[in-house]
């Protein structure tokens, strides 16, 4: 290729991928050609003074502009930490937190740390978080150049979320030493067939599942498993993702409009476990460091029981640590499965497992041998910096050396609640689903579970009302639980409001109810009352896959008027518990330093 043209392309910021595609080469070929021409980026300092004075903090960016390279040589052992790139829903501050901890930990252990990230909002891109900061895109091309220029000893890919994980295999192919759990083990967890084989070997149940490359196969799979099923593309296109499907009609629709199934991109069909309790487990292990895995140590950092039943994305669910309803037997099973999988996957560092519990059966939904979204939460809850320890384990220390060998079971409760951007997206329904939509999280801490839950709601901007009126409207599926949940509020002295159908059930159960018109029946209706602030809390559970327009209207009006709304029965129960605790004793505040 013409050297001058190539040099010009690079100085205009063209990536190897663009050049490769435009000139009919592969990315690898372009890179090889560039290297043979000595055409590699130089690194310049961000120094506040346009090179007028000497700069002491190594904060670099790359350029193909001809000129000096300002990288300061050093012969210390270097570890590169790959950041998470721009925040998005599903990959946010939690991963930046982990990357920052990796930098702190490895600095402590005498390594030279290099941070690579492109997100200006973060602590990881502060110039004094790591020894060297490279403000660069997280692509194979950009990362590889830094790694080679700095002659790093290793790179950490398991802390920055999906971004660095997606790069791990190709980096490894290009000679990068990915430290911690091997990319091969990560693949076992991500590849459906390999994963199923591993579970069979360990005798760990997984929800029955199938695979479909077209509509007919999807229907066949669904019939075999029985509705409802959870469907999702194995290859996600433009956010068309997971859905719970209850009938043939819904499945037809999903297969026709939501995904493009093909033999290369099959659709995954799982039996959906209705009313199962989900549990997230974060653990840390060093077993992969040892020839004989039984010598290694594995410690569960935290078990988080979801408040909402299965079907709500774990990033959106409220969670309680330690589990508040699970039996000792179930907890024991979870512990046993987690240990078995960490050993099998030869984990070095962190691992997150998602379980669904139905009765006494524990199913594994997903395993991610990497830092998860809940790591910072768990670390704060138990008072042990898991990410920091994991980084040290990945760089060679054992958990025994680090003095962390046994599980911590807290004597207080911590509740995680999610925060959603629905007030930004008018007209968007607010129901929780398998598709994650929250942007952030808060924590409520207290010795009393109800207060911890109430604090999490206050922190999320939906302070529990201590008295007033509750509007209740639930789907047919929840009618059985309705009297019990409604009574919680009636006993707390709340006035109940409902439309005719719901009101009849409550009256039959002996409760007093004020009736209100359905939206289509006249006024004043629930929306009017919400706007007039005559309703302090809404309990509204969805009526199936295609919500009725008036339901959506009530839910969006609740968001809009800042009225707390519970869209699950378990959420409504937790809220009642919180209100009751607040009314009994109020709440007090306490520092983290005092908890630990």
């Amino acid at each position: 290729m013409n050297a001058e043209l190539l040099a010009k392309a690079k100085s205009l910021g063209f990536s190897d991928r663009q050049i490769a595609n435009l000139t009919g080469r592969t990315e690898d070929q372009v890179r090889a050609e560039r290297k043979s021409l000595g055409l590699v980026p130089s690194y310049r300092l961000v120094d506040t003074c346009a090179a007028e004075f000497e700069a002491y903090t190594p904060y670099y960016y790359s350029t193909y502009d001809r000129g000096d390279d300002e990288v300061r040589p050093s012969d210390r052992k270097k570890v590169m930490i790959l950041g998470g790139g721009p925040n998005r829903i599903g990959q946010g501050i939690e991963f930046d937190y982990c990357c920052v901890h990796a930098a702190f930990a490895l600095k402590e252990d005498g390594f030279e740390t290099l941070m690579v990230n492109s997100n200006p909002e973060t602590v990881s891109t502060d110039y004094d978080t790591s020894d060297k900061l490279y403000f660069e895109p997280l692509t194979l091309e950009d990362v590889l150049h830094i790694y080679e220029r700095e002659k790093c000893w290793g790179a950490i890919a398991q802390f920055g979320g999906q971004t660095p994980l997606n790069l791990a295999l190709s980096l490894q192919k290009n000679g990068v030493n990915i430290i911690g759990t091997s990319p091969q083990s990560i693949e076992v967890a991500e590849d459906r067939k390999l994963f199923a084989a591993m579970l069979r070997k360990l005798d760990i149940p997984q929800p029955p599942n199938g695979i479909a490359t077209n509509e007919a196969e999807a229907l066949a799979a669904a019939h075999e498993l029985g509705y409802p099923v959870l469907v999702r593309p194995s290859f996600v296109l433009g956010g068309r993702a997971m859905q719970i499907v209850y009938s043939d009609t819904e499945l037809h629709h999903y297969m026709r409009f939501a995904v493009e199934a093909s033999p290369e991109r099959p659709v995954l069909v799982d039996k959906f476990l209705e009313d199962a309790t989900e549990v997230d487990v974060d653990c840390i292990a060093d077993v992969g460091q040892f020839e004989d895995q039984s010598e290694g140590t594995m410690v569960i950092g935290g078990m988080l029981e979801h408040v909402e039943f299965a079907g709500v994305h774990s990033g959106d669910a409220a969670m309680v640590l330690p589990p508040h309803t699970l039996s000792q037997e179930v907890i024991g099973t979870i512990r046993q499965y987690t240990h078995a999988m960490a050993r099998e996957l030869k984990v070095i560092g962190l691992m997150n497992v998602q379980y669904a519990v139905k009765g006494t059966t524990v199913y594994v939904l997903e395993v991610n041998p990497r830092a998860s979204r809940t790591v910072p939460f768990v670390s704060k809850a138990i008072g042990v910096p898991l990410a920091k320890m994991a980084a040290k384990v990945m760089a060679g220390k054992s958990l025994k050396e680090l003095g962390f060998t046994s599980e911590i079971w807290t004597k207080y409760w911590t509740v995680k609640e999610s925060v959603f951007p629905f007030n930004r997206f008018h007209g968007q329904d607010i129901l929780l689903s398998p598709e994650m939509r929250s942007t952030g999280e808060v924590m409520g801490l207290d010795a009393d579970l109800g207060i911890a839950y109430a604090k999490s709601q206050m922190a999320a901007g939906a302070a529990p009302p201590l008295s007033g009126t509750v509007f209740i409207s639930v789907s047919d599926a929840h009618k059985d639980d309705l009297p019990e949940v409604a009574r919680l509020y009636a006993d707390l002295g709340f006035e109940l409001i409902a439309t005719n159908g719901t009101a009849a059930i409550l009256e039959k159960a002996g409760m007093k109810v004020r009736r209100v018109s359905k939206l289509s029946e006249g006024r004043p209706n629930a929306v009017d009352l919400l706007k007039n602030k005559e309703i302090q809390l809404v309990i509204n559970t969805p009526a199936g896959q295609a919500p009725r327009a008036d339901e959506v209207k009530i839910r969006t009006t609740a968001v809009y008027t800042g009225t707390p709304i519970m869209t699950t029965m378990s959420g409504a129960r937790a809220m009642a518990l919180g209100i009751s605790a607040l009314r009994k004793s109020g709440y007090s505040v306490k520092t983290l330093q005092e908890y630990h």
Partner: protein, 501 residues
């Protein structure tokens, strides 16, 4: 002057959960402030409900409250801390630093101030006093103040009812009109009204969402160029500009949703100096005695009329960007200024030689591009307007705008490896268009004239479809200088394609 010795403990309020308009930049600023204040020997008390932050790691503050950020709860913390300080025999007082936790911290502090809690317990606010915060935050007070010091502002009025809003609209005389609710974050509830019906609807929503039921109805500056200045000031009235930022997208798109470039690229030195002087005049008039502020300007491309749009009397999202763009740690310096230091007394960590009173100079170009998540909210409107909708951002640095733009685009991680030519097809509804195919004209016109997340790419599609710079400018009002830069990239893409053997 040296640091204040009458202070024993500093209460920092964090920003709480990550939401649109308030992301991890406030973890960055809060963490810096905690470090800076502890370095100075103060006892740091922190409240933040967000456990995913670095600042709430127990080693960053002496006392870390992971508790709800509500006035009621913060009052409980104040009482508890005052008692604790008595117990340990602290000599010195407890002060509140509210300017590092975004709008959440500022609103909470102001609420405690208005309800008399701060006065009752003798808690002083440092960083910005209540008067300055009110002047910066109350849009009408701010505008009157600007007019007083001889600066221009958009014609507008404040309304508390829809009827009042109608009267203001009448007075301004023509639609479109901008509606901005008071005291909401990232413009929540605001919008642009193109017709009377929309005007009524947005006004009503804005009034409902504003905690004080107040909206500002404003003359439309759609299509004007938008700029930002990051300014810092100390107790001796030294002022410095840390960074100048130009919005690639003209007025009408929230700055959090705009592509932004630092330093400013399309102003003459004379225009830039005018803006610099105006920035100093604003921070002085508002009375932010110590710390940083972000000031936004709009310039009419037809006649050069410059107006002040707003100022944030606190560390903002743009401050984080400005810090990363220049290497100047705004939050850290702001914290030190708040406890009494002067700009010339604080050493710049990077050079170790120059003081913080040296204005940063940069010899590169920084581009920030927002990242959106509309695929998660299919029922919502993906048009960009004055209400922020992006969930994150990527920044890149290059020696030219072109280099930094392409780096930023591939940093976004949306499957694009630059402006174009990477081979990834485009999916528009049910249709798939090849990366090097020519796009239909009507689609291009629509995507250029209505701001959206992909507009930058449609400039390329337009150029490849034979649109010229003037046509694209007419549709987007994006400064011609930027369009020329993009054209150079598109032209070079053709050179590369032509070299294919």
């Amino acid at each position: 002057m040296a640091k204040r010795s009458d202070i024993h403990s500093v209460l920092i309020i964090g920003a709480g959960p990550i939401i649109i308009g308030q992301a991890c930049e406030f973890d960055y600023s809060g963490t810096q402030a905690c470090k800076a204040l502890r370095e100075e020997g103060y006892r740091v008390v922190l409240v933040n409900s967000n456990p995913a932050t670095i600042m709430t790691d127990p080693e960053f503050a002496d006392r870390t409250y992971i508790e709800p950020i509500t006035p009621e709860c913060v009052e409980k913390i104040i009482l508890r801390e005052l008692e604790e300080m008595r117990r340990i025999g602290a000599n010195g007082k407890l002060v509140l630093l509210p300017t590092l936790g975004g709008q959440t911290a500022l609103n909470t502090a102001m609420s405690l101030c208005r309800s008399g809690v701060l006065e009752k317990h003798g808690i002083e606010m440092i960083g910005a006093n209540a008067r300055a915060i009110e002047r910066g935050e109350d849009r009408q007070v701010f505008k009157d103040l600007m007019l007083e010091i001889g600066l221009d502002v958009p014609i507008s009025g404040t309304a508390h009812t829809v009827e009042e809003a109608r009267q203001i609209a009448e007075r301004i005389g023509k639609l479109p009109l901008i509606i901005r609710p008071a005291f909401t974050l990232g413009g929540t509830g605001g919008g642009i009204a193109y017709n009377r019906e929309e005007f009524e609807e947005i006004s009503k929503r804005g009034l409902e969402l504003s905690p004080v039921s107040e909206i500002l109805v404003e003359e439309s500056l759609l299509g004007w160029k938008e700029f930002e200045m990051e300014v810092m000031r100390d107790r001796n009235d030294n002022c410095v500009i840390i960074c100048s930022i130009e919005n690639f997208d003209p007025m009408g798109v929230h700055t959090g949703d705009s592509i932004t470039v630092a330093p400013i690229q399309t102003l003459t030195d004379k225009e830039f100096q005018l803006m610099r002087d105006a920035s100093f005049a604003v921070i002085r008039a508002v009375g932010v005695e110590t710390g940083g502020s972000n000031i936004q300007f709009a310039v009419n491309p037809d006649n050069g009329r410059m107006v002040i749009i707003e100022m944030n009397p606190r560390v903002s999202r743009s401050s984080a960007l400005a810090s990363k763009a220049t290497g100047f740690p705004i939050a850290k310096i702001a914290a030190k200024l708040a406890v009494g230091y002067l700009l010339d007394e604080i050493r710049n960590d990077i050079t170790r030689e120059t003081p913080a009173s040296f204005e940063p100079t940069i010899d590169y170009v920084v581009t920030k591009i927002p990242r959106f998540a509309f695929e998660k909210f299919p029922q919502a409107d993906p048009t960009l307007n004055t209400q922020m909708k992006s969930v994150g951002e990527a920044m890149a640095i290059g020696r030219t705008f072109k280099e930094s733009l392409q780096k930023a685009l591939r940093s976004l991680e949306i499957g694009r490896y630059g402006l174009g030519g990477d081979g990834k097809p485009w999916r528009i509804g049910e249709k798939v268009i090849g990366d090097r195919d020519i796009f239909p004209r009507d689609l291009i016109i629509q995507k250029l004239s209505v701001p959206n997340a992909e507009r930058i790419f449609y400039i390329r599609h337009a150029l490849r479809a034979g649109f010229d710079i003037e046509q694209i400018f007419g549709l987007t009002k994006i400064d011609r200088w930027f369009l020329v830069q993009i054209k150079e990239l598109v032209d070079f893409e053709e050179c590369l394609a032509a070299s294919r053997e």
